[in-house]
Subunit: 348 residues, 2 copies
C-alpha cells in the first residue's frame, strides 16, 4: 500500500476531522495562470488612523467612543449577525422547509491599539496578551448558559473580506452547533469511542515521527500542514495535550501558543513577502454541554494564496459543486513554509 | 409554527439536498461596506481573439490547432486535474492517513466560436445546441464503464477564477462520487425510501404553490431561489419531471431548458448591469451504478456578487470555520430577480 505515489498521481485524501475528502492533482502544479490577478493593498498604514473605527478614542458606527486602550479591546459587533435577544422558534413544513431561530453574541477584538501592525509584527508578549484575552472571553461567554458554541476567528487581508486593516479578530457565539463543528464532533467521537484517545493525539504523534508535514514544534504545540489540507498553504496548530478548549490552557501553554502563532504567521508573511491573508480560527469543544473528552483543541488557517502575493487559488466550479481540489501537495507546501525565515521580512 | 418571522430574526435553514444548514441574518443587510471592491473586467472583446486558446483555428497549450468550428467545440483539458490512465491504489495508515487514487477525464466545451458572447447573449437556438452537446457528452462519457460521476459546470467571470473570457464550460468525470454528490445521494435516498417520490418533485410542487421564491417557469422546468440558498443570489433550475440525468431529456425538454437558462442568465446580467459572474453546474445521478429513482436532475448557480457589480459576498472566517451565512433573505433575492427584465441590457 505504501506504493501510492502521492507526489505524482491524482488522488483523494480523507480529512479525518470532517470525514470529507479533498482531490489532489500534483501533476497539475505547472499549469500557467492567465486569470485574475489580485490588487496588492498598500502597506504604509499610520500607527493611528483618525477614520478607523477600531483605533483608540475614535467613534464607532453605533456612536460609542472607543477607550484609549493600551493592549487590546473587545466590544459587541455593531453589525452582529446574531443577536442575544432572539427567542427560540422552530419551523418544519413537510421536511422540505426546515428552519429555526438562532441566538448569539458577536464580538470584535482589536489585537493592539497600533493600526499599522499585524499579529506577526507584534512582539510575543503582546501576542500573549491577545491569547489571555481570548481565554478570558471564552470563559466569560461559556458562563452564558444558553451558549453552546464559541467561534474565535480572524479574517486577515482585504482579499479575505476583511473590511478594516486594523489588526482584529472576531468571536461569534451561539445556541446551536454550526455545521463544521457538528462534523468534527461526529468524527472525533467515533475515534474516541474506539480507542479512548483523541484522534488528534494519535495524529500529531504520527506526524511528529514522519516530520515531512511539520512546520514548527514547541513543548505544548505543533504547527503542520494537515495530510488532507485543501487550500494550498492550509495549516493547523494543534496542542500536544488533549485539551478540550482554550479555557484549559495553563500559563506555559498560553505562552507557547503565542510563540508558535508568531512563528507560523511570520513564515506566512515571508513566503511571498506580503502580509499573508487568511481566515483562521480555533475549533474546540461545545460549551454548556457536559464533558467532551473526544474533543482536541486546534486552530485552522485557510489562506487563499497559491503562487504569489497576487495569484490566489479559486475554490470554484468543480470545488463548489463536487469536491475541494488542490494542485501542489501538502508535503511541498510544508517544505516551503519550513524553509521560510522566522525573522519577519520587514524587521530591520 | 408559522410565526417564525423569516424577514426579521436571525435563523438557520436546512438545505434538504445536503442536510446542512445556512445561517440567515436578515437584519444585517444594511451593513455598510468598507472592504475590498472588485475590478470590473473590460467588456469590449473582439469576435475573434488571435491569442485566445479557445477561438477557432488557434493553437492550444499542447500544440493542437482548434478546428474552424461553427457551433461548439469539445476537447480534453490541456491541464486536466484528473487523468484517464491512473491505476487504482488505496492507502490507509491507522485510519489517520487515508487516500486513494482518482481516475478521470476532464474536458473543456467552447459554447460558441464567438469570443465576445456569453450564454445570455447567444440566441436560444445556439444555447439549445450547447444543451444537445452536454447531453451527447454525458451519454458518451457514461459509456466508459469505470466512470461513476460526471460533473458538467461553468465558471463565469474573472472573479470566479475563470481564466479565459471566451464562453466555455467544463466536464470533469471520475471513478468515485465527489463529496457534494455523496451528500445529495444520502438525502435524496432517505426521502425516496420514505415517500417513493423524489424530494425535489415535492419541493418544486410546494414552491410553485407558494410562488415567492419562483423566478421563471415553463412546461418542463422551474428556476427559483432555494429556501436554503447560501450565496446572496444563489438559484437552482429544477426539472418538473423526476429525470435522473440529462440523458433523459427529450427534445422538448432540451428546448425548454435552453429557454429557462437564457431567461435566468439574462436576469442575472440585468441585476447589476454587468456580465454576472457565477459557478454553475448540474447535479445528476451517478452513472454505471444501477438505477437511481431517488435522483432528480437540477442545476445550481452560485454567484459571488452581493450588492453591485463590484461588491461581493465573502464566504470567509465564520463561514469557512463554522457555517455558511447570508444577509439578504432568499425571498428578497427572488423578488429582485423576478423584477429584472428578460431583455438583455446590452440588446438594442
Ligand atoms: O481549469 P480552469 O478553468 O483554468 O480553472 C478553474 O476551474 C477549476 C475547476 O473549477 C478550478 O480548479 C480552478 O481553481 C479554477 O481556476
Ligand atoms: O464582520 P466583517 O468582518 O465586516 O465581515 C467579514 O466576516 C464575516 C464573518 O466571517 C463574514 O460574514 C463577512 O462576509 C466578511 O466580510
Amino acid at each position: 500500500q505504501s506504493t501510492l505515489n502521492f507526489g505524482d498521481s491524482p488522488h483523494t485524501r480523507v480529512n479525518i476531522l470532517t470525514g470529507e475528502k479533498v482531490l489532489v492533482s500534483p501533476h497539475r502544479s505547472k499549469r500557467p495562470w492567465q486569470g485574475q490577478v489580485e490588487d496588492l493593498p498598500g502597506d504604509n498604514r499610520p500607527e493611528y488612523d483618525p477614520k478607523c473605527y477600531l483605533c483608540p478614542t475614535n467613534q464607532r458606527a453605533d456612536g460609542d467612543i472607543n477607550p484609549d486602550y493600551k493592549e487590546s479591546f473587545v466590544f459587541v459587533n455593531d453589525f452582529s449577525a446574531l443577536l442575544k435577544d432572539t427567542s427560540q422558534q422552530e419551523f418544519n413544513e413537510d421536511e422540505l422547509f426546515v428552519a429555526e431561530t438562532e441566538r448569539g453574541i458577536c464580538k470584535v477584538i482589536a489585537f493592539t491599539p497600533r493600526h499599522d501592525l499585524t499579529l506577526p509584527e507584534m512582539d510575543q508578549e503582546a501576542i500573549k496578551a491577545v491569547v489571555d484575552l481570548w481565554q478570558k472571553e471564552f470563559v466569560d461567554l461559556s458562563k452564558v448558559e444558553w451558549i453552546k458554541y464559541i467561534q474565535i476567528f480572524e479574517n486577515k487581508g482585504a482579499i479575505m473580506g476583511c473590511s478594516n486593516p486594523h489588526p482584529h479578530g472576531q468571536i461569534w457565539s451561539q445556541n446551536h452547533l454550526p455545521v463544521e463543528i457538528q462534523k468534527e464532533c461526529v468524527q472525533q467521537q467515533k475515534y474516541f469511542d474506539k480507542y479512548q484517545r483523541t484522534i488528534l493525539s494519535d495524529y500529531v504523534k504520527a506526524e511528529l515521527s514522519k516530520e515531512e508535514r511539520i512546520i514548527d514544534e514547541n513543548d505544548s504545540f505543533v504547527s503542520l500542514v494537515p495530510f488532507w489540507a485543501a487550500w494550498p498553504y492550509e495549516t493547523m496548530i494543534v496542542s500536544k495535550r488533549a485539551i478540550q478548549n482554550i479555557a484549559g490552557f495553563d500559563d506555559k501553554e498560553k505562552a507557547d501558543f503565542a510563540a508558535i502563532l508568531k512563528l507560523l504567521t511570520t513564515r506566512y508573511d515571508n513566503l511571498f513577502k506580503t502580509s499573508f491573508p487568511y481566515s483562521a480560527g480555533m475549533h474546540q469543544a461545545p460549551v454548556n454541554d457536559g464533558d467532551h473528552p473526544e474533543w482536541h483543541w486546534h486552530m485552522h488557517f485557510y489562506p487563499p494564496l497559491l503562487r504569489s502575493a497576487t495569484v490566489k487559488k479559486f475554490m470554484v466550479g468543480y470545488e463548489m459543486l463536487a469536491n475541494p481540489q488542490r494542485d501542489i501537495t501538502p508535503e511541498v507546501a510544508a517544505e516551503q513554509l519550513r524553509n521560510c525565515s522566522t525573522v519577519h521580512y520587514k524587521a530591520k
